[in-house]
Subunit: 97 residues, 2 copies
Amino acid sequence: MGRVVVEVMPKPEILDPQGKAVLGALPRLGFAGITEVRQGRRFELEVDGEVTAEVLDLVQRAAETLLSNPVIEDVVRVAAIEDEGAAPLPAAAEGPA
Amino acid sequence: MGRVVVEVMPKPEILDPQGKAVLGALPRLGFAGITEVRQGRRFELEVDGEVTAEVLDLVQRAAETLLSNPVIEDVVRVAAIEDEGAAPLPAAAEGPA
């Protein structure tokens, strides 16, 4: 059983009232130095069998048609989750979003 | 100016009606082979200056107090976004979620 992560974010030109609300709340809670917040969605999908290129292609199409609204959102990431261990997450770099 | 990504997911024992709705819609739209869907949230934060360990620590605390509801959600990822280029995302592996 494989797992795939899909991440979608509001397009840059789209207003993001949820992100703005978070941005406004941060300094009130003592968190300084954050200048912008955008809020999107993250999906974790479990698939039958291994995460092959075909599976990633199917998930990519699902991401662009069902998991995101292509008018206002971009699919920023579709990737296999390979490590199923319980170790803490590394602070890994990722591509542009 | 640095950027940090924060990802939160519903805890495994918490019902996720949005994920269930997506799971039910997938086969109706012709996407077979997906056995489970969980929906969480992804935040992108812009910070003043570089993303230092101190900044990641501040964002981690913000993630656990403001960006997520610790009763029903887990913070699964707090990481710097290093690559600001416009290239397509690699299908990179990541840690457990």
